[in-house]
């Protein structure tokens, strides 16, 4: 007889493929996500680029400074969509089917998480292209672009993991959406619009220094503006994001175990 446990990698692959197919068959959900993140890049650049003349920017190009914000905020649509996909699976009973297969619970949550991450990486790629079109110069060169995309990949996994975990706890679209509000403090209580030295309020300085997104911004900005002369912020960025991934993906896998068996 054919029944046997599939292996973890092939299960994850099969689950991811299914999630990608599902996303592609709903273009009305992902196309607006792509559009909105590019829109942010345009308005930030148009509205705020003047402040790059302040001495603290040391002549850096504001476009390179704000590009990471555009990429990180794209996650709310791209990677955040993973949570919405999960709510859909819970609603139509498909998630129970998945839980009834011998696949590991981690493989089950990794499908939508990886698909969400890929969506974010594609968004980031497009944002960078638009950036070049607006006159972006990357100090780190082609390798710099790759590093930015790798950081994006990590951020995508972390954020999608979080949104899947929240969806599994909340079990309905509204609460899952509410869960993504954590995103706002994450992105705005940081060095979002100006460098750390220019932040005035002491409380915001504290918030920014404990916010993992700050380290992500710093790593990306280092690559984009200074290249690889100082690698510590880049390494730190990767470490913080790796830690964040470990936490949120574990959270989602544990939530999957409890999703149906809660009472």
């Amino acid at each position: 007889m054919n029944k046997q446990q599939g292996n973890f990698f092939s299960d994850t692959l099969v689950m991811t493929k299914r999630s990608i197919v599902t996303i592609l068959r709903n273009p009305l959900i992902f196309i607006p996500n792509l559009a909105i993140s590019m829109f942010f890049l345009f308005v930030y650049e148009a509205g705020l680029s003047g402040i790059a003349n302040l001495p603290a920017f040391e002549g850096a190009n504001y476009l390179a400074f704000i590009l990471p914000v555009s990429i990180v905020s794209a996650a709310i649509g791209g990677a955040g969509g993973a949570g919405q996909a999960l709510v859909k699976d819970l609603d139509n009973g498909f998630f129970s089917r998945l839980l009834l297969t011998p696949s590991s619970r981690l493989a089950i949550v990794l499908g939508p998480i990886i698909a969400g991450m890929l969506q974010l990486v594609i968004q980031a790629g497009l944002i960078i292209c638009v950036g070049f079109f607006l006159g972006l110069e990357v100090a780190g060169g082609a390798l710099g672009v790759v590093v930015v995309l790798l950081l994006t990949l990590g951020w995508g996994l972390a954020f999608a993991g979080y949104s899947v975990g929240v969806a599994l706890r909340a079990k309905n679209a509204q609460s899952a959406q509410a869960g993504t509000f954590i995103f706002f403090p994450l992105i705005f209580l940081s060095t979002t619009f100006v460098p750390y030295e220019l932040i005035d309020a002491a409380w915001l300085k504290v918030a920014a220094s404990i916010n993992p997104v700050t380290y992500l911004f710093e790593a990306m900005r280092t690559v984009l503006i200074d290249g690889f002369t100082d690698t510590w912020p880049i390494v730190l960025g990767f470490l913080v994001i790796a830690g964040l991934c470990a936490i949120t993906i574990t959270f989602s896998a544990v939530s999957a175990k409890k999703a149906v068996s809660t009472d």
Binding site: K3, L99, L100, T101
Partner: protein, 317 residues
Amino acid sequence: MNGTIHVENIEKTFKGDVRAVRGVSFDVADGEFFAFLGPNGAGKSTTVQLLTTLLKPTSGKLEVAGYDVNKDPEKVRLSIGVALQETGIDPDLKGRELLEFQARLFGFSKKEAKKRAEELLELVGLTEDADRLSGKYSGGMRRRLDLAMTLVHQPKILFLDEPTTGLDPANRKAIWREIKRLNKEEGTTIFLTTQYLEEADQLADRISIINKGQIVATGTPAELKRTLGLDAIVLQFDEEEEAISAYDAVATDEYQTERVKNDVTILAENGTSILADVIRKLDERNLHPAQLNVKPPSLDDVFIQVTNEQKEGGLNE
């Protein structure tokens, strides 16, 4: 690999003190066809979810295919096929894709998965619709696809929670035939919940009736009918007033009498012996039923009787 189920004194209390299952015990033998009957809210689906690793019991012991459900859920999942009361289908995938997906997760290679999907599509009559999005299927088609997904890995034990709900008579018969074949020819153990008593009567080796989270009767269909069934005398009148007077005339403490609109039903252990008595009483009042039938016990009556009696006093096996 064995196809047995062993349940010992399981309880499931949901949040808010909803006691869905209160001390249920039963055994299902390898290759047996076991039916679980009960009114809405009796705890049938909860029991299925407990047995299939989807819910954790508040207390009690559960063994499926020889494995402890709590300790070895993975091994249990490999041995069972489950069609829940609500179908579990991703509407964005096509019928064929869903079956191949399911097969891959049960360790089939790509090629084997394709072949298995083809077989199953044929089996449930969805070959022509295989490449349409399942979200566009009718309710009955979705139900059949769901059953096909349940069978992908040729499970040793099948759990079917009201599998024929929403199917037209032809498709219902086809599904019955297949379930019967799996049971008889492949020796698959079947755990079936249903609202169609006829279904249980025809298919099941043994039936348990559950009410308010407790098993109130167990036996073969014949046993249940013999020990619990009552003959029914059904009087049908042209006018409702006549039926009301007839009800007044015949209702006594000796047997159960019910009236629904123009029909009066008398339930008694030995229908023919009281028939003369009933006719005499009707004659005295000059009441003439348009139709009079005496029916042997049906599983329906057993079901209604067992679940009603519990409302009043309580009846145990």
